[in-house]
């Protein structure tokens, strides 16, 4: 929105969360949000609050699980981790994402040539 930040594309949040958990292991909501922002080098704008409904959805699907733990500076926090079926789901989503990116890239190139 402001400062050239992009809103997160609908449906990609799941992928980002799953990938983050795969890379970093069990993590609390704040950690996930920070990681996504860091990796995107502040280009992606995340309303951090929207993360929680997404986490709930992933957990209801059985792709992630959660339990309460203690953070580095002794705060009680809920830690999320990837489940087996979550790993499979991540593979599926990553693949379909790459396909999508490929299609769009081809499309844009084609346009560029024609244009």
């Amino acid at each position: 929105m402001t400062g050239g930040k992009e809103d997160i594309l609908r449906g990609t949040l799941d992928l980002l969360v799953l990938k983050t958990l795969e890379t970093l292991g069990p993590l609390h909501g704040y950690g996930i949000a920070r990681r996504i922002e860091q990796v995107s080098e502040q280009l992606l704008h995340l309303n951090q609050g929207t993360l929680y409904p997404a986490l709930l959805r992933l957990e209801q699907r059985g792709w992630i699980s959660s339990k309460w733990g203690t953070s580095d500076n002794n705060r009680r926090a809920r830690y999320y981790s990837l489940t087996k079926s979550g790993k499979k789901q991540l593979a599926r989503e990553a693949e379909s994402w790459e396909r999508m990116v490929g299609v769009i890239a081809r499309l844009l190139q084609g346009e560029a040539i024609i244009g």
Binding site: H28, A33, Q48, L56, Q60, G62, A77, R78
Partner: protein, 880 residues
């Protein structure tokens, strides 16, 4: 499978909502604190850090809302919320709730009651295997227009041998037994069934067995299968009865089986094997079998009819003497069992449906008025972010609650009403195709129907107002005046449609009720040809075994009559073979001897043999000649008395007195000695009044009905009259001990019930429509208060204002009446089979109900108009 997990997670969450809520709060808290820590580390002041954290987290409330929606079962949770809210709203306006619920209860109750009858009579499958393939196969006597003629054994055999459409066929015939040895002697109406009959119907016995093929021979036929009702009432449901003997007509019969309770029939109480008498085996004129058949799978009734027509034509060619005019008429079993109640039930079903529609319209009107009043509430909620669907579902929840409450009370009304509806099934009239119904149960289907109707009604009356309100622009509604122009116009159109609908529907109902009442009056006023007041009747069937000879039957009649006549309070007494109005009758061909008409072409007329005083007991007037006398005995000149209609038919140009009449089944021609008034033998709904009477002394019959005219109280005499019969023969059974008024009343029971019900429904409809119209007119008048004030300030007189408002109502009424008349004319066909002496499109009835409706509507709009007229212009102008 993942959705399954998601659903179960949601269910768990719904149940343990509080803990999840707390967890989320803790989680968010932790998240925010970590953010604040981070910001502080970056050098912000604690306060700035806090604000920055909240900013990057976004709206906590929105997140929590989203989280909640996702977590539990939002549908169920919001439904619970909606219900609680709706209950609060309804409690806050008890007047509205009460009126709406009662209106709906009336409509739903009426529908449920009629549906419970339909359910009992028409929908419930007949208790036979594959009942839809069962048909009755009758003869069709074209010469005499008798389309349910019984069948002769040789014809039946040929049908069986030649057809390819029936899987199986069976013959039966009715018979009356006297059961003795258990309690008072009782006449039992029974059927002789061939061994095949039970198999065609496909119902196995409850106990024991049915008949074996070899039991249809005289001598081996003393076996009996009992009906459930008789088994219970006379033998206390004794399971050891099978194998024992009971006494029928003085002879022992071995009980071989008992049929289950569901095995039907008003009259069947027991069955004995069908024995074809030797003289009937080759006589094609000896028609006494009722034939039931099972269509082959896939064969339609029409195909069967075509096939049987061919066979009948073949038989007519081969045996012209007996079969020239004998066709075949196939009628489905269902039609046979319920034919006469179908049309009245369908008419009533339509009527209650219409009443429910009016009720819906009225409640919709109320709901709309309330919804308009709540416009601002709705607008505020929309502005605060309530989604349209959420608002809609909330308004509809309120309607559904009203509908369900109405349905619950409606069920109570229906339960009470079904007791009254049993009167539609007169138990003593034999010629109606109506099943015997003792009670009309409220079963699962009826409950389901009531629930469905309640919800459907709620949708009908709730949806339009709800859409209307939700569709209105928030801005307009929030404006202080609360008189958004678009909303009013739309609302007004909706109201007008409701009012017109109510008017046309009530016109249709009024027309139906009017026609039915007119028809009933015609039937009630009609002259039966006899005077049923203070006449006691009872029926006796002398068993063959005990009274094989004519003289014995004669002696029995004479002795009983002598005793009855000597009872105090008896004015006159006689016997008749077939009691008028009972639904039983017999026919014989007659013709004047001088006319030499071949037997097949002679008119078929109703006959009875009567004792001399029968005419006096029934008050049947003598028009010409004389009544029978005691001197008309066996051996004296054979005589007859004919009805006026028959006299006109057989001897239109000559004086019938002294003419000799040939009567089928009577050996010698009989001399006409009298002409009496016509009697509606089959009740006022039939016009069959060509009758021939023969003296009982010259043509005795084992079937005799006593008609006893009393000075005051026919019911009080019943005991003494029964004793008189038992004094002559202590084992003689008698039945149908009842007054002629009772019989006359029962013969019109169906007509009366339908007329009364339609009358009540039409009255309810009229009242609802008047209320609805009143509501619409007074609302629109109140909306126009300002306008009226201006008009009056500009010099309009009060009467002009009155006219203005009344005209509003009149326009709607006239439109409604126009539509109603068109619908009534279109639906007239539905009524035609129920009407006697009045055409289904009877113009005077239609005009009459239109005028009544117009007057009521005028009154309904006059009251609000008067109120508008009295408006003080100054107040009205300030009214804003």
């Amino acid at each position: 499978m993942s959705w399954l997990k998601a659903v179960s997670a949601r269910i768990v969450a719904s149940v343990r909502g509080k803990r999840f809520e707390d967890n989320l709060a803790a989680e968010v808290q932790a998240h925010l604190e970590m953010l604040v820590d981070e910001n502080v580390r970056r050098g912000m002041s604690p306060e700035d850090a806090r604000y920055a954290a909240l900013r990057s987290f976004g709206s906590v409330a929105q997140m929590r809302e989203e989280y909640r929606d996702r977590r539990g079962l939002p549908m169920i949770e919001t439904l619970g919320q909606d219900i609680r809210y709706a209950l609060r709203q309804l409690r806050r306006s008890p007047g509205f709730a009460a009126v709406a619920i009662l209106t709906l209860a009336l409509g739903i109750g009426a529908n449920t009651a009629i549906f419970s009858v339909v359910n009992t009579v028409l929908l419930r499958p007949l208790p036979y295997r594959d009942a839809d393939r069962l048909v009755m196969v009758w003869g069709n006597d074209r010469a005499h227009g008798y389309d349910t003629d019984q069948v002769s054994p040789p014809d039946f055999q040929d049908w069986q041998a030649q057809n390819r459409v029936f899987e199986s066929m069976a013959g039966s015939t009715d018979v009356t037994y006297t059961l003795t040895g258990v309690g008072d002697p009782e006449p039992i109406t029974a059927y002789e069934y061939s061994a095949e009959s039970f198999r065609v119907l496909g119902v196995p016995p409850l106990l024991g067995r049915t008949f074996a093929p070899e039991e249809d021979q005289d001598g081996r036929n003393h076996v009996v299968v009992l009906g459930y009702r008789l088994w219970q009432s006379r033998f206390g449901g004794d399971r050891g009865l099978v194998g024992r003997t009971i006494t029928l007509n003085g002879a022992p019969y071995t009980v071989v089986g008992v049929m289950p309770q569901a095995f039907p029939d008003a009259v069947d109480q027991l069955w004995t094997p069908l024995v074809i008498p030797p003289e009937a085996v080759h006589d094609r004129n000896y028609r006494f079998l009722r034939v039931v058949a099972r269509l082959k799978s896939g064969v339609t009734l029409q195909q069967a009819q075509i096939e049987m027509n061919t066979i009948a034509a073949r038989l007519a060619n081969a045996y012209p003497k007996t079969n020239k005019d004998e066709g075949v008429n196939i009628i489905s079993m269902r039609q046979t069992k319920t034919g006469d109640i179908r049309a009245p039930l369908l008419v009533l079903l339509c009527a209650v449906g219409f009443v429910l529609l009016i009720a819906c319209a009225n409640v919709a009107n109320l709901v709309l008025a309330r919804a308009m009043a709540r416009q601002r509430e709705v607008a505020v909620r929309t502005a605060l972010g309530a989604s349209r669907s959420r608002l809609l579902s909330q308004l509809l929840t309120e309607s559904a609650l009203l509908g369900l409450a109405g349905g619950a009370i409606g069920l109570v009304i229906a339960y009470w009403a079904t007791g009254a509806l049993v009167a539609m099934f007169p138990p003593n009239i034999a010629n109606l195709n109506i099943p015997r119904v003792d009670k009309i149960p409220i079963d699962g289907w009826v409950l389901g129907f009531a629930l469905g109707v309640s919800l459907l009604t709620a949708l009908i009356f709730g949806l339009v107002p709800a859409l209307h309100v939700c569709g209105m622009s928030t801005y307009e509604s929030l404006k202080d005046s609360g008189r958004s122009v678009s909303g009013t116009r739309q609302g007004r159109r909706f109201r007008s449609v409701l009012a017109v609908t109510e008017v046309w529907i009530s016109l249709v109902l009024l027309a139906a009720a009017g026609l039915m009442l007119k028809s009933l009056v015609h039937l009630l006023r009609g002259d039966l040809g006899l005077n049923p007041d203070r006449v006691l009747s009872m029926r006796v069937m002398l068993p063959d075994s005990k009274y094989p000879k004519d003289t014995q039957q004669l002696a029995f009649g004479d002795q009983v009559l002598e005793r009855i006549k000597s009872l105090p309070g008896v004015q006159s007494a006689g016997t008749v073979t077939f009691l008028p109005l009972s639904g039983w009758w017999g026919v014989r061909n007659v013709a004047l001897e001088s006319q030499k008409i071949p037997e097949q072409e002679r008119p078929q007329v109703v006959w009875s043999s009567v004792t001399p005083d029968y005419f006096r007991a029934m008050n049947i007037p003598l028009l010409k000649g004389r009544y029978f006398a005691d001197s008309d005995r066996a051996g004296s000149t054979a005589v007859t008395i004919i009805s006026a209609t028959l006299a006109k038919r057989v001897a239109p140009n000559v004086d019938p007195l002294g003419e000799r009449l040939v009567v089928a089944g009577v050996k010698d021609p009989v001399e006409v000695v009298g002409v009496v008034g016509d009697v509606h033998q089959l009740g006022m709904t039939s016009n069959e009044t060509a009758e021939v009477y023969l003296p009982f002394a010259q043509l005795p019959s084992p079937l005799m009905c006593f008609a006893i005219r009393t000075a005051s109280d026919p019911v009080g005499l019943a005991k003494a009259a029964q004793k008189a019969i038992w004094a002559v023969d202590k084992d003689q059974a008698l039945s149908y001990v009842m007054t002629m008024t009772q019989l006359a009343s029962e013969s019109l029971a169906l007509q009366r019930v339908v007329a009364i019900l339609l009358g009540i429904l039409a009255a309810v409809a009229l009242a609802l429509a008047a209320i609805g119209l009143y509501g619409v007119i007074s609302y629109s008048a109140s909306q126009r208060t300002h306008e009226i004030g201006i008009r009056m300030a500009l010099g309009a007189s009060r009467s002009e204002v009155l006219r203005l408002v009344v005209l509003d109502g009149l326009k709607l009424t006239l439109l409604g009446i126009g539509i109603g008349l068109a619908v009534a004319l279109a639906l007239a066909r539905l009524m035609s089979s129920l009407l006697y002496g009045v055409a289904p499109r009877d113009p005077s009835t239609l005009a009459g109900v239109a005028i009544v409706l117009a007057l009521v509507a005028l009154l309904a709009s006059y009251i609000p108009a008067r109120r508008a007229m009295r408006v003080d212009p100054m107040t009205a102008l300030r009214y804003e």
